[in-house]
Structures are given as C-alpha cells and as structure tokens.
Symmetry: C2
C-alpha cells in the first residue's frame, strides 16, 4: 500500500477527531487541535471556519456528489435508485477510503446533542437538494420529496451499519439490503389465506 502523505487539512482533521474523542467536542479548543497537528491556529483557520467545520466541512461535497449522481442516473432508474446513485457508487468509494474517520465522527456526533442537530440539518438539506434533482428528472413534486427523504433514511441506516463492520467496501451492499428491508416493511400486509 502506498503511504499517504497527510496534508495540513488531513492532519488537522485527525488531530481534531482524536481530541474530540478524548476530551469531548465542547472541551476542545482550536489551539489544542493546531498544537496536536504541529501547526498554527492561523493554518487551522485557513482550512476550517471553526472546530465544527472539521466534522461538517465535507457536507457540500457530499451533497454535490448526490445531486450530480441523481441527475446523471440512467432514465430507467426508479426515483429511489436515482436518489441513491451516489451512495451506491462515487460516495461509497469516497467513504471506503475514510472509514476510520467516519466511525470516529459518528461516535463524536452521537455523544453531542448539538452536533446531532447539525447532522440532522445536513441530511435534511441533502434530501432537499436531491428532491430538486429528482424534479429535474421529471419526478412529480411530492413523489420527489418522498423518494429523497426515504433515500436519506436508507443511506443513514446503512451508513451506521457500515461504520461498525470491517469491510470498507460494504456500503453499497448495506444500502441494497436496507432498501430491500424497506420494501418488505412498506409492503401491504398479505391477505389472509382462504380455502
């Protein structure tokens, strides 16, 4: 395996995540993050607006990946498949290289109600952007909202399973499984057998 030469942004992220895990998010200062990364506060602020941005700085890129893949999905894709196109492809690849980061990030967010709120808002804004992309494919207004929000639910559930299991490439499979599970959950109850 090629050894990865961490750039300043990555070093700062890693330092921040270990400090958040050790001391809690609230108790960690930017000065401490910079110090642990062997960099200055000024360098920190070149990459991140504040210490929360270390956890949410990738949100714009992720939303972009989802929107682009939704728009580019084949015409034959169902709305849910189109909404999940990134999660099954480019986003899953991106995450497969960052599973440790993702796992640590999930644990930090789970420990902090304010960060959980931020995460909810991020997912909701992704759902809105995906819904807009679905409308661009001709999906009717409210079906697009339903499909996009459902896709985010599936992504979230699969993502939580993914961070806790060993194979970094398992995300697409876990998404397909969660989708199949949802199909089973929403299926009408079978009619009672007769005769």
């Amino acid at each position: 395996m090629v050894r990865w030469q961490p750039d300043a942004s990555l070093r700062l992220s890693e330092a921040a995540l270990s400090l958040y895990a050790e001391r809690g998010f609230d108790a960690t200062t930017v000065a401490e993050i910079a110090e642990r990364a062997g960099l200055t506060k000024r360098t920190f602020f070149r990459y991140f607006a504040d210490k929360r941005e270390v956890l949410f700085g990738g949100a714009g890129e992720l939303r972009e990946l989802f929107v682009t893949a939704t728009a580019a999905a084949p015409a034959s894709a169902t709305p849910i498949e189109a909404a999940l196109a990134a999660a099954l492809g480019p986003a899953a690849e991106m995450f497969s290289e960052r599973q440790d980061f993702a796992r640590q990030r999930q644990a930090i967010i789970a420990a902090n109600p304010e960060l959980q709120e931020r995460e909810l808002i991020k997912l909701s804004s992704m759902a809105e952007a995906i819904a807009a992309a679905l409308r661009g494919r001709g999906v009717p207004e409210q079906a697009a909202t339903l499909a996009a929000q459902t896709a985010m639910t599936i992504f979230q559930v699969a993502f939580e399973r993914w961070v806790d299991q060993p194979d970094p490439h398992a995300l697409p499979r876990l998404i397909s499984e969660a989708l199949a599970e949802l199909q089973a959950l929403t299926a009408p109850a079978p009619a009672p057998l007769t005769g």
Copy 2:
C-alpha cells in the same frame, strides 16, 4: 356547532400565531402576545416557557399519541402501519380540530430557518420514540429505525398536503396515499418484457 370558549392558553396561542405571521417570529415579543390576548406576561409564562413553546408545546403530547398507538396497534399490523396508527386515528382527529392553527404554524416555520431546525429535531425525536415502541413489539433494531423514520417522512408529506386543502378530515386518506406512493417508489424496477 357548539361555540368554543377559548381558554387562556388558546387565546395566547392564537395571538402569538397572528403576530408571528404579521411581524415574523423573531420580531414578536411575549409582551405583545400577552397584550393582544388581553392577558399578562405572567399568564403567558404560566403556559409557555418562551415564545417558541407556543409552536412546539404540543410536541410531547403528539409523541405520546404516536408511541401509545404504535404499542397498541393490532399484532397483524405491519411495522409501518403500527408506526402510523396514531396518524391514521387519534392524531388525525386531534389535528382535524386545529387545521387553521396547523396551517398558520407550518407557514411560520417555513419562514424561519431556526424554527425549521427545531421542527426537524422534533420529528427526529418522534421517530426515535416510535422506533423504541416498535422494538417493544418485537421489530428488530434496525428495521424499527427504518420503519419509524419512513413513517415520519410519510406523515410529514401527508401533513403538508393536508394543511393546504379544505377537508380537515382528509389526513388519514392523504397518509394512505403517501404510503401507496412510497410503495410504488420503492418497488423494484419491473423486469424488461421478453418474448
């Protein structure tokens, strides 16, 4: 129809909602709400912790309705049906008497990002409580999360349609329609015809 004798809490709510709609939520003070209701600030604070509580004070009651109905749904109900049992029954009845309030509230929330965040958090906390109730029915851990979040998505979409249409009793029908729509959206793409 029997004329409803508004109590202090209701008068305060109505005064607050019209002020939020006229001036915006941020620009409205508790003193103004109390004045419009013909009551004192002290009375306001007997019913509401702050001006946001006017919009979110019912959240606990609503969550309770959902959780109770989920737990009490017949054993034959699918997890999604159990999660939606309140929305199809007691919660829909409660809302049918408050459609004007609900419509005004939706518009006020839609106009204010902070209130939107609060609403997201409310819905997420409801989804968690419903998921716990589903687990109490024997639904496996993650299926419960999927079903509860999906139920909240369906409820939200149906509720948004409901506030904007004339029949206050239409919510259960709109929920059934949204569920059917979701079933169609999650259905696997049909296999291409052959032969």
